[in-house]
């Protein structure tokens, strides 16, 4: 398989966005760069940018590997991407509104009814509810991969609680500290106003019960959650309180947090807790992470929950395969960003094809995430494929399959030189009633192992600073 190299046009010359960087790199002393690379790790450790790995009790907090070579995107390339992203995010919000109200897309027969009805991500509690400001997905992460100069695919949509934005911000801070001269030579678009934009965007969706300046809270499952650092980071940067379920109770029709002066109302809750755990009275009764009764307050306009409960129906992997139809249905336009061709294993023909071609395909769980429970055919052993086949045959509707994409590479700095590694990109999008704001760049995840196509941090992937150059 041949892979698109984002840095090099051929053996010797760099592609346009990388030209200044390449010149700079060639003039550097590899030893000094190696030292910088170690320095970067020390910075991350000191700052405490770590994540906890699930399933490993008392495991050390881990650092996500950081690579010092930026991933660079040209202004025009980015422009093209943003148009596609903007369109997709608008469609997702329109879809969510429709699916919880008139369900016209189902009536029009554009997506099958059973896909919604039998879907755990669909919340009947949200039927007829319009969230404050009409916004369902306040924060969206769209995972994009590249396979050629002009070939981009959306790998998946994250409409629930996309994570990783703290890495986008900290990666940039670290690069600014370590390589100030690079930023003097390259005109890189800023990302640092993200927390401020997030605050404003959430405030613009304040509920009707809010009087005065909206009070924001970030709801975290707690200190042991793998993304706790990010929750604390965002709360801190936005000037919001970082709350857990036990800090909150319902009082006088409002959601209130226990402060040192007593209980005070919260207007907007940026929750990093899944739907199922959000409200033990309305959803999973065993949840200790949520707030009993919060859904009732939500429906009565007493609080904004971001993202809206039930938004997950839009990023379900079975729905994903219908995204081109969804975009066309709500925007009247053809999708600007392509979907990866997807076989729905719930359909007999597709299943037959997938079973026959397991060794070539990537098979994913419909509700899975984080790179768990998936099969990467070309990288799997015969035994792994045989075992996966059994799982697939037992519950076909639980899986979708996609061709193994020839993911583009950007170089990483190994001990002394550059070496290509596969990457993806997660841009972060903020949605408010007035605008859709796309932060230039996003999080580039990189497979640190040679040849590996899995970029998830839970599977050993790393990150890079992502530059979008100014025009």
């Amino acid at each position: 398989m041949k892979f698109f190299n984002e840095m090099m046009a051929d053996e010797t010359s760099a592609r346009e966005p990388y030209q200044i960087y390449k010149e700079w790199f060639d003039s550097q002393n590899p030893k000094a760069l190696k030292r910088k690379s170690a320095e970067a790790e020390a910075v991350f450790r000191r700052t405490g940018i770590t994540f906890n790995v699930y399933g490993k009790k008392d495991a050390e907090e881990r650092l996500i590997p950081f690579d010092i070579v930026p991933r660079i995107i040209g202004a025009r390339e980015w422009m093209k991407l943003t148009k596609g992203i903007d369109q997709r995010v608008r469609a997702i919000n329109a879809f969510l509104h429709d699916i919880y109200h008139k369900q016209e897309i189902l009536k029009a027969g554009r997506i099958p009814q059973h896909l919604i009805e039998n879907n755990e991500a669909f919340l009947p509690e949200m039927i007829g509810v319009t969230p404050p400001g009409g916004v369902y997905t306040h924060i969206v992460g769209i995972d994009i991969v590249r396979t050629g100069e002009n070939e981009f695919y959306v790998l998946e949509d994250n409409a629930r609680t996309p994570s990783g934005v703290s890495y986008m911000l900290e990666n940039r801070e670290t690069m600014l500290q370590m390589f100030p001269d690079l930023f003097a030579q390259n005109r890189v678009q800023q990302v640092s106003d993200y927390p401020h934009s997030l605050r404003r965007s959430l405030s613009d969706c304040a509920p009707s019960a809010c009087t005065g300046k909206p009070v924001l809270g970030v709801l975290t499952p707690g200190i042991h959650n793998s993304a706790y650092f990010e929750h604390a980071f965002l709360a801190d940067q936005m000037g919001a309180e970082l709350v857990e379920g036990h800090d909150i109770k319902i009082q006088n029709g409002r959601v209130c947090m226990r402060t040192t002066k007593g209980y005070e109302p919260v207007d907007v809750l940026y929750r990093r807790v899944d739907d199922d755990y959000l409200d033990p009275l309305n959803f999973n009764p065993d949840s200790m992470l949520g707030v009993p009764g919060i859904m009732d307050i939500y429906r009565a306009g007493g609080i904004t929950i971001a993202n809206a409960p039930g938004a997950g129906i839009a990023d379900d992997k079975a729905i994903y395969s219908y995204m081109p139809e969804i975009i066309e249905f709500y925007t009247g336009e053809k999708a600007l960003l392509e979907n990866v061709p997807t076989w729905r294993c719930s359909e007999a023909d597709s299943l037959a094809y997938v079973l026959e071609h397991l060794a070539e395909l990537v098979v994913k769980e419909v509700h899975g995430s984080g790179g768990y429970g998936m099969l990467v055919g070309p990288a799997a052993s015969k035994k792994e494929i045989t075992e996966f086949r059994k799982k697939l045959e037992a519950r076909p509707s639980n899986y979708i399959a996609q061709p193994t994409l020839a993911l583009s590479t950007t170089p990483v700095f190994t001990k002394s030189e550059l070496a290509p590694r596969h990457v993806d990109l997660r841009p972060f999008i903020l949605v408010s009633p007035n605008e859709i704001k796309i932060t230039p760049g996003g999080l580039t995840r990189v497979a640190m192992k040679e040849g590996s196509l899995v970029v998830n941090s839970s599977q050993g992937g790393g990150t890079k600073d992502t530059w979008v150059l100014e025009d």
Partner: protein
């Protein structure tokens, strides 16, 4: 501010103070062990008693070897009050209260934890290293306090950090006095008319005050001068009166900011007034041991009242 955050701040600073105090106790004990060949076990056992850890220690070890005691006090994670455990707790609470800390304070405490867990990773074989390690522990704590002084707003957040510090410090100084009070009794059976030099020096060392004491009281140390210094001297930053004065101050700031008079502030005010009114002679007369016991109880009650007043828990 969230009650949970106030709780995190309060305990973060209690644990920071605790790790520093344990380091001071070890320093004093270590010096004694070096300067005296006899009665070594007795010295360490009084250090462990002061830290409230004798029982736990004896459950684990059968003698008082320097190495075992220092391992237990400095790096044993099964001992919840060891320096390493205290730092881990300080950092855990800092993570809970992360949104109330400046980046500098957070990085200082995170770095302290990283440094100390590195340095204390392996058993302390080498005696040469011990003074360095003890100095490092104190320096790390000073770095956090310095970042607090230099970067934190003087608001309720700051008040809770100070309350944690002084509740813990008062407890520590009172415990030292509680264990060693017999040394300071004017006619203790074991000491005769003049004070046991090594004993009183250890007391001063364990609160890092031997130098300050010399400045204030040139000449022979007397029992009542040392007791007065550690209990009633409001210039001495580790004395009971100083700690109570600081608690009073910070609780009054909170009263102002929250526009209320909290119960904890009243409790502290009462204690402070009583201490202001009494002399060291009064204390000796009614019993030093009883006085210290009573102080420890009241300090505990104040900590509990702060927890309630500011809704640390639901």
């Amino acid at each position: 501010m969230l009650g949970k955050t106030a709780n995190g701040l309060f305990w973060m600073f209690r644990y920071l103070e605790r790790s520093e105090n344990i380091a001071r106790l070890v320093e004093a004990g270590f010096r004694m062990a070096l300067t005296r060949s006899q009665r070594q076990g007795g010295d360490w056992s009084s250090v462990l008693t002061t830290a409230g850890l004798l029982e736990q220690y004896e459950a684990k070890y059968s003698d008082f070897e320097n190495k075992s005691v220092m391992d237990f006090l400095l790096r044993d994670r099964t001992n919840p009050s060891s320096v390493l455990s205290s730092m881990a707790e300080a950092r855990r609470n800092a993570r809970l209260a992360r949104t109330a800390l400046t980046r500098e304070v957070w990085e200082a405490v995170n770095e302290s934890w990283l440094r100390l867990s590195e340095v204390l990773k392996s058993p302390l074989q080498d005696k040469e290293r011990i003074p360095d390690i003890l100095a490092l522990i104190r320096r790390q704590s000073a770095q956090v306090q310095g970042a607090v002084q230099g970067t934190m707003l003087r608001n309720d957040i700051y008040d809770f950090t100070r309350l944690g510090t002084f509740v813990e410090r008062a407890d520590n100084t009172a415990r030292i006095l509680d264990v060693k009070y017999y040394v300071l009794l004017p006619s203790g059976a074991s000491v005769g008319s003049s004070l046991d030099n090594v004993q009183w020096e250890t007391i001063l060392r364990s609160v890092s005050a031997q130098q300050a004491y010399r400045w204030l009281h040139q000449g022979e140390p007397t029992a009542s001068a040392i007791a007065k210094f550690l209990i009633l001297d409001t210039c001495m930053p580790r004395s009971l009166s100083f700690c109570v004065k600081e608690m009073d101050l910070n609780l009054r700031y909170l009263n102002q900011e929250y526009d209320q008079v909290s119960e904890s502030s009243q409790k502290v005010k009462a204690l402070q007034q009583e201490m202001k009114a009494c002399t060291i002679e009064d204390i000796f007369e009614s019993g030093l041991h009883e006085f210290i016991g009573d102080f420890l109880q009241r300090n505990l009650a104040i900590a509990g009242q702060i927890e309630t007043d500011y809704r640390f828990f639901a």
